[in-house]
């Protein structure tokens, strides 16, 4: 009997801990944004920022994140930074590609919508993947339905779902899996 009570209390404590960490995480993010936007470290600015961030966190903390403070683990931050570099490089390549197509007189395009499977589960991870794909060479996410992305491709080379996965989203998926799941 006493065992079940202990287990119940432990569960309640864990739940509160999780909720608290979500609130604290959103407070930290809002506060950092405040400091970055005001770019000053004066005490009165910081106090006003803390108050505003507290109010924002109070109202949005529950919806703001799922993982809470665990989003700030060292590993995730390292992967995020590496992902940003990969992403910026892919984006520059994308723009060179589009520039080439726009400027060449013949306009070498062969568009169509292809299907790309994804193994990501959480909504936020799918959002990140879809956004990344939209910003890279000749691909535009038209829709995400369950575990399939529908992508408008400016120069279709293959329609086989396995090969489209390799060509379009494989680069991002391994980083996004580490960051969001």
């Amino acid at each position: 009997m006493s065992g079940t009570i202990v287990a119940k209390w432990r569960r309640i404590l864990q739940e509160t801990g999780k909720t608290m960490s979500r609130y604290i995480y959103s407070f930290l993010v809002f506060f950092i944004f405040w400091v970055a936007f005001t770019t000053s470290l004066q005490t009165d600015e910081l106090i006003v920022g803390a108050v505003v961030a507290f109010i924002m966190a109070f109202y949005t903390g529950k919806q703001f994140s799922e993982g809470g403070l665990s989003n700030l683990s060292f590993r995730k931050i390292v992967f995020t930074v590496r992902y940003l570099f990969v992403f910026v490089w892919e984006m520059i390549k994308a723009n060179m590609d589009v520039a080439k197509r726009v400027l060449s007189p013949k306009m070498p395009i062969d568009p169509g919508i292809v299907e790309v499977p994804t193994k990501l589960k959480s909504n936020i991870a799918k959002l990140a993947l879809a956004n990344s794909i939209t910003l890279t060479p000749g691909t535009l996410t038209v829709d995400v339905i369950e575990d399939k992305l529908y992508i408008h491709w400016i120069n279709v080379t293959t329609t086989n779902p396995q090969e489209t996965f390799g060509e379009i989203s494989a680069v991002f998926e391994k980083y996004i899996k580490e960051i969001f799941e």
Binding site: M107, G112, I113, A130
Partner: protein, 118 residues
């Protein structure tokens, strides 16, 4: 040091403006709404981010602000283009195609059938 930052800023801004110009050219030259969106989203995102970050480098006090503004552009621009593309497809705008490649058609039909059944 400050001079170097200045010049990098000017180079970045010029790059951004160049890509914005290419995006505008793309919107004029491409054959249909989806391909225009391809040129529109990518070139304008890099163009806007380049220009804004360039301004941030020319005036280092603004750097953090411009960084956050670019982050918001990177997050919101692809979402709006996705919404435009999805909306245009669902109201029946045809794609310009050489071959008939359209995996989305079946998915749209299936989801509409599900809605009717429900």
């Amino acid at each position: 040091m400050l001079d170097a930052l200045h010049y990098t800023g000017y180079v970045l801004t010029s790059f951004g403006v160049l890509f914005l110009l290419l995006g505008a050219l793309g919107i004029l030259r491409m054959p249909d709404v989806y391909n225009r969106m391809q040129a529109g989203t990518k070139a304008t995102t890099l163009g806007a981010v380049g220009t804004i970050m360039g301004v941030g480098l020319i005036n280092p006090e603004w750097f953090l602000k411009t960084l956050i503004i670019s982050l918001f552009i990177l997050l919101s621009n692809p979402i709006s283009s996705h919404a435009l593309a999805r909306g245009s497809y669902r109201i029946g705008i045809k794609m310009w195609q050489k071959k008939d490649i359209d995996a989305y058609k079946k998915a749209v039909q299936e989801s509409e059938e599900k809605e009717e059944a429900a």
